[in-house]
Amino acid sequence: MTAFEGFLITGLVTGCIYALIAMGLVVTYTTTGIFNFSHGAIAMFAAYMFWQLWQGWDLNVILSFLLVLLVIAPLFGLLIEVLLMRPLRGASVDLMLVITLGLLLALVGIANSAWSPTVTRVLPQLYNGDGFRVGKVLVSWHELITVGALVAVAIVLRMLFTRARVGVAMRAVVDNPDLVAMAGGRPIRVQQLSWALSCSLAALGGMLLAPIQQLNILNLTLLVVDGYAAAIIGRLRNLPVSVAGAIVIAVGQQMAQGYLPNSGFLTRVQNIIPMIVLFIVLIALPQDRLKSATFADAVAPRVASLRASVSTGTVLVVAALITAGFLSGPNLKIGANGFVTGIELLSLVLLTGYGGMTSLCVLSFVGLGAFAMSHVGGSGGSLLGVLAAIGLAGGVGALVALPTLRLRGLYLALATFSFATVMDLAVFTQILGTGGNLAVARVHIPGIPTQSDRAYFTVCAIAFVLVAIGVLALRRGSFGRRLVATNDSPAACATLGVNVNGTKLITFTIAAGLAGFAGALAGGVPGSVSANDFAALGSLVVLLLARIGGINTATGALLGASTLTVFSVAQPHLPGWVGQLQYTLTGLAAISVGRSPNGFGGRIASLIERVRPRSDELPEELTSVNDDGTVGSVFFAEEKELAHAGH
């Protein structure tokens, strides 16, 4: 028995774990058309339910297992379909991401409340971890059962989707539910069945994996991330290829661990292999496979004029100046943080709201900005640091954009997420100094006070306003119209001679630069940053905040940031149990936004549209009034006319 064989066997077992996760993602996507970010959270929740029944309430192990697998999980799936997914038919990718991320947070929050993570709970392996040896490596019966379950489920699903009527119907509903209905099918019933099946698969994975990977809320929830690459290798459709991909990735990881040095940067390679594979596969794959890679709700409220945006911004700055006089030191910092977060959200307004490019790596650019500010700005907070922050983040943004220009929707989201994960695991934890913190000075502007909490609060407010005015100006200009048009129909734009890739590249670069600018300001609030500030999943939350406020407007960015700020100010004064609900409340807030794709900002714009006198003339940049009263941008004059006719 050589070490090589040991790594191989360990890799095979680990690969089966990845495969089980990937299979759940693939089945969910195949039967619902949704890439379910909450898959891991559902698995986690099922594992804890299993523990509760078996260990907590002393029910029979098999009965507990079957109860979760065949009763609780399917019922939960039905609930998801009815409450969350049915209203989202045809929704955009980033909205789906927000909803599934919201569900993830809600489940994590509920689990935190129900099963305190500070209490150790053990879900034992079947047969007490006993097993048989292959060479020196012990393969436990539990692991063997897991592998067996994987094989059995793969066979059953294969037959279901290719030979059984209901399986074919599941796939058909994803492609065209109306057609299925016209043919006598019952698409809603099929969708419910799909979600029940999906949740049962997640539960199966969670119950089998928890004894191997520890019963831990966050670890189980995040375990699914390692399965993304395998699922994408199978194009979210092909189960056998996904399983094979999972095994190859896991064996590769084990070999990297076995034969790469134990020190230095290379020690991090093993951890980022799945994300590197994911990035490469996404770039290499054809793009026409994903149905949800469209933005059905790319409808923005009216874009404010220059006069309106400047006057509103002036009011905001004056309000900030007045408010600063009444705020305590802690609240000034919270407020400054809020404005900085607002700038991050503005970068998403430009990139995702206007450009339709879903980015899950905004915090990576914020981190680069903070890093540049620290090293170039120095302890004096030189303005050069700010420029370096914008330049570094923008430059890296351009480099990331280049290979991903042709990606859209989910593929782009996952590609940016893989970049964020690599930055998180391999870069930020490596460079952010001993102790994990990097000192970042507040920017020094000659002749203008910036160092006190009050002054810095005002500086951040002004920065937010300037960025907002700039983003709105960009949107109103020819570049903005080109950007929106590119989002609406890249093919049409290309036909008309619009440089689609160039437009995307510039947008991505500017958005990354804005995030870098936010990073330059962010570190100055507390005076330091750590790697945790730029964690990959944090970028998902920023997207979530943008969606809550409204990702199509600068007002939405302000509202999203304000939501966070108000909560932060109120939190010390709330009862402790309320603080414990923060995950749950955030998740539920995100889920509720699903019914209003433009967020609270969109609702406000809608209200304004209803009360203001209606003009017969549409704005010059070709907008249309939609059913809900919002105004959306379109590119073709024909659509403009149709919009008039529709009203």
Binding site: A3, L138, L218, G435, Q571
Partner: protein, 502 residues
């Protein structure tokens, strides 16, 4: 961490935590665990116990049915303070303990005065601990321990020096800005910070520095948090590590310690600690033939052990900068990876109820496990019989939080409370922040009545080096080769020295 992410309802971070997240929990726990690993120089005396209705603590006469411990108050170079006489003190770097214990006699000569958080009848302290964040309730134990201590002194001693002890809690939120804001908020309301446990405690440093008279008594998780001159720590000193335990184990295990494997979390703070530990161990003849850094989100280490056992042929496995649950998983993964049955495990972080719970009733896999602490076996029933302070801690914690297990953070918060009590009682005729800070600076050997290894709380240059050894056998943790608690070192081994790593 900035407010947005963390407080954001979300945790985002968490989700992060590793990512953020996920990593946070492990990060936090690893840092917290490792923060504890600084033994102390100097010595101490054990506590004296008076039982019955009347109890004496550090010279304070109390009433009630609580059993309390005698206190050890060492001030300066061995002066008498408040009726407690102590002689000796720290002999300096690596010095032999020489403090002798004397019983408190009479109540301390408590001073009078008013200051921030101090009135004629009340004294209010502030505790900042991470309760919300990616891991709900992460350092809630610190709050629990502090409240248990307050209940104890208020019920049995009428507070501290006649002042009812109030505790103002703030949630650090596992978040830099929130921690900083909590400190800013409290600093003008409380007399002192006592018993805090926050991952981003370095973010409160600016507040502590700006108020140089406010005493800040807590176990620093970030090295920057221990820098202010008004910070006092149960495990003070610069980055480095004690050597005594490695010398003992080298003698006990022989040539096996030249084939050691270790795993550390791939976090800057954990890695810095790991370097200090490795440096100290190697100075005693240990040789690390396998050393791996793992992401905090990793919860399966089978591949590590395949490499460690089958390629590097380790004979001893040692880890400090992981958490207890991961340590339990590692033991299981050793078996799966085909490691030899005679592999020695030295895992100090295993002294945790979470560790043994992971094995349920099947603890045979961890029989013979070795480790060491810089504090007493605070949840052991037999330790309570040996060290009265541990008994009081266990009793009052259970009174305050029935049926909940006390964890390390609760124990540290309690010990921090004891340090504060001692300083207030020794502050002299005028009671204010300045005099209490001065009293804290004079403490050379603090032990919380034998519950923690002796330390000089204000030290910035000398690290601790005392410890106890333990072994897991017959289903429980037991002291190993440790001097009697009635001895001059209070049951701690104080051989070896503190070796700075930079």
């Amino acid at each position: 961490m900035r407010t947005p992410r963390a407080a954001a309802l979300l945790m985002i971070a968490g989700l992060v935590a590793t990512a953020c997240g996920a990593r946070l929990p492990d990060d936090v726990q690893a840092k917290a665990q490792s923060a504890v690993l600084n033994p102390v120089s100097g010595t101490t005396g054990g506590g004296t116990t008076t039982t019955g209705d009347g109890t004496t603590t550090g010279g304070t006469t109390t009433t009630g049915d609580g059993t309390t411990t005698g206190g050890t108050t060492t001030t300066g170079d061995g002066t008498t303070t408040g009726g407690t006489t102590t002689t000796g003190g720290t002999k300096g770097h690596g010095g032999k303990p020489s403090t002798t214990q004397t019983q408190a006699a009479g109540a301390p000569a408590c001073g009078k005065g008013t200051d921030v958080g101090l009135t004629a009848s009340d004294i209010t302290i502030g505790t900042i601990s991470d309760v919300t964040g990616p891991v709900s309730g992460l350092f809630q134990g610190a709050q629990q321990g502090m409240l248990a201590f307050a209940n104890y002194v208020n019920a049995t001693q009428g507070g501290i020096c006649g002042h009812h002890l109030n505790v103002a809690f703030r949630d650090g939120g596992t978040n830099c800005t929130q921690t900083q804001n909590a400190a800013s908020d409290l600093v003008n309301k409380v007399f002192a910070f006592v018993g805090s446990f926050a991952l981003y405690d370095n973010c409160a440093v600016s507040v502590v520095r700006a108020h140089p008279t406010v005493p800040d008594i807590h176990v620093a998780l970030d090295p920057a948090a221990s820098a202010p001159s008004n910070h006092y720590d149960l495990t003070p000193g610069p980055l480095g590590y004690a050597t005594g335990m490695f010398a003992y184990l080298a003698k006990k295990l022989g040539s096996k310690v030249q084939h050691v494997g270790t795993i550390a979390e791939a976090l800057p703070s954990a890695l810095a600690k790991q370097r200090a530990i490795t440096h100290a161990a190697e100075s005693q003849g240990w040789k690390f033939v396998y050393s791996q850094n793992e992401q905090p989100t990793n919860s399966n280490f089978q591949g590590d052990f395949v490499k460690a056992c089958q390629q590097a042929h380790i004979q001893v496995f040692f880890t400090v900068t992981e958490n207890a649950q991961n340590a339990a998983t590692m033991i299981q993964n050793e078996r799966q990876a085909g490691c030899p049955k005679d592999l020695i495990n030295v895992i100090p972080i295993a002294y945790d109820q979470a560790f043994t719970q992971a094995f349920g009733n099947n603890t045979s896999a961890i029989e013979g496990l070795l480790g060491y602490n810089e504090y007493a076996l605070f949840f052991n029933p037999d330790e309570a019989a040996r060290i009265p302070e541990v008994k009081v801690f266990q009793e009052w914690f259970q009174r305050t939080y029935p049926n909940q297990p006390a964890n390390l953070y609760a124990m540290y918060a309690w010990a921090d409370g004891r340090m504060f009590q001692q300083a207030v009682e020794n502050a002299g005729g005028t009671l204010n922040r300045k005099t209490v800070s001065a009293a804290l600076k004079k403490i050379r050997n603090f032990t919380a009545n034998g519950m923690v290894a002796p330390a000089m709380p204000s030290s910035k240059t000398v690290g601790p080096h005392c410890y106890i050894l333990w072994e897991f056998s017959h289903g429980a943790f037991h002291r190993l080769a440790t001097p009697p608690t009635s001895g001059p070192t209070g049951g701690f081994r104080c051989d070896g020295r503190f070796l700075r790593s930079n």
